[in-house]
Amino acid sequence: MKYILAKSAAEALEALLAEEGKARIIAGGSDVMVDMEAGKLAPQTLVDITTADDMKGIRIQDDQLIIGAAVTLTEIARSPLIRQYFPSLCKGAGSVGSLQIRNSATLVGNVVTAQPAADAAMAVAPLDPRFVVLSKDGIRELAMGEMYAGFGKSTLNSTAEVVKEIHIPLPADDEKASFVRLELRKSLSLPMLNVAAMAKVTDGFFQWVRITMGPVGVGPTRAFEAEEWLKGKALTPENMAEAGRLALHNAKPRSNPLRGSKKYREHALPILVRRALEGIAKQMGLLHFDN
């Protein structure tokens, strides 16, 4: 096997294309290495992007927060810049696996592996991120909804495409985001359910809301019906609870030995959606209790 430590995103793409499908990208390695060990993956060449200088770092450019594809979950969880704008993303990134895994694993990897219970992917989902992708045809930007092809299946081809970075529009003062999860224990546990939300709130009323839920389908699943219903509604406990009930219309929680029964998860999901919305209300100074 060949192992290439790419110095830039362009070099990583070049290395992939030169191998014509026999090379694949490795970032943190927390999935690729496990899959290789299990015999599910056997690439001839690995192209490591964690050494690419132009894929490192977290920065603001114009009105965008830019997170490089080589940035680890620990770097995100501890970034003062991200904490300032999106504390929920710090929380989601800080919920994945364990500290050792977060010291290696990346946010982009958490999206591209397309696992349904990914906390960091869930936390970034409602923030309207754009994924900057390099391929032989040039550069394109993909939205969150365009990243997932199925359970554990990305729309991207890791043998021919490279995600360079994520662009997230900076929030206005009246736009806040939240992330909540339900788990059996506090570390090294996949979520039984996780929910993230972002909303614009003016004078105590929702202008718009984005709610994403998992693992209840392929990738972070939008609660479109609840989002639509909340538009123009006041941030009252009743409205937030009703939105939680409506969220079930877009979710298909299944029974799972790790995540609980369908019945239990259907009972818990509306509560988590309500808590995510309360998390937003709290940041807006509209709610004064801990949920």
Binding site: M1, K2, Y3, L5, I26, G28, G29, S30, M33, V34, E37, L46, D48, T50, T74, G97, S98, L99, Q100, I101, N103, S104, K186, S187, L188
Partner: protein, 157 residues
């Protein structure tokens, strides 16, 4: 074979390695540093934890070539001049060990924490050790050992 240059337990080495192996295999099979254990092989149990460039990582999910130019510390590098590191001594003093299989990983996670923060809170210790699973005993003695070691390290030991 590829040339790998790295620093292991304070010593710079330059060796030929198979680039397809995991860091943990390289440490155990090539360098015979078998203090680093393989538990689950999936990054989930923490038995293979080593410190890489100051951060605790599970060496079973790290490709060996990522150690190119890196500074790696393993359990074998902790004792100095025949004397155990305060973290090792406190694990013994507090009875924070039963079978001992998880211990090297626990101690490396603790060292990564205490090198960065020698006055951790209980929550910080739990976050740092949350990725290390012990199936014999509980975690109370382990947390006590880390706190006791932190006390000693603050005093300059």
């Amino acid at each position: 074979m590829e040339k790998l240059n790295m620093t292991i337990n304070g010593k710079a080495i330059s060796v030929d390695v198979d680039p397809g192996i995991r860091l943990v295999d390289f440490l155990r099979d090539n360098l015979f540093l078998t203090g680093t254990k393989i538990g689950c092989g999936k990054g989930e149990c923490g038995a293979c934890t080593v410190i890489m460039n100051g951060k605790a990582v599970t060496s079973c999910i790290i490709p060996v070539m990522r150690a190119q130019g890196a500074v790696i510390e393993t359990i074998e590098g902790l004792g100095k001049n025949g004397k155990l590191h305060p973290i090792q001594e406190e694990f013994i003093n507090k009875g924070a060990i039963q079978c001992g299989f998880c211990t090297p990983g626990m101690i490396m996670s603790s060292k990564a924490l205490l090198d960065e923060n020698n006055a951790p809170t209980s929550d910080e210790v739990r976050e740092a050790l949350g990725g290390n699973i012990c199936r014999c005993t509980g975690y109370v003695k382990i947390e006590e050992a880390v706190m006791a070691a932190a006390d000693r390290m603050r005093k300059g030991e």
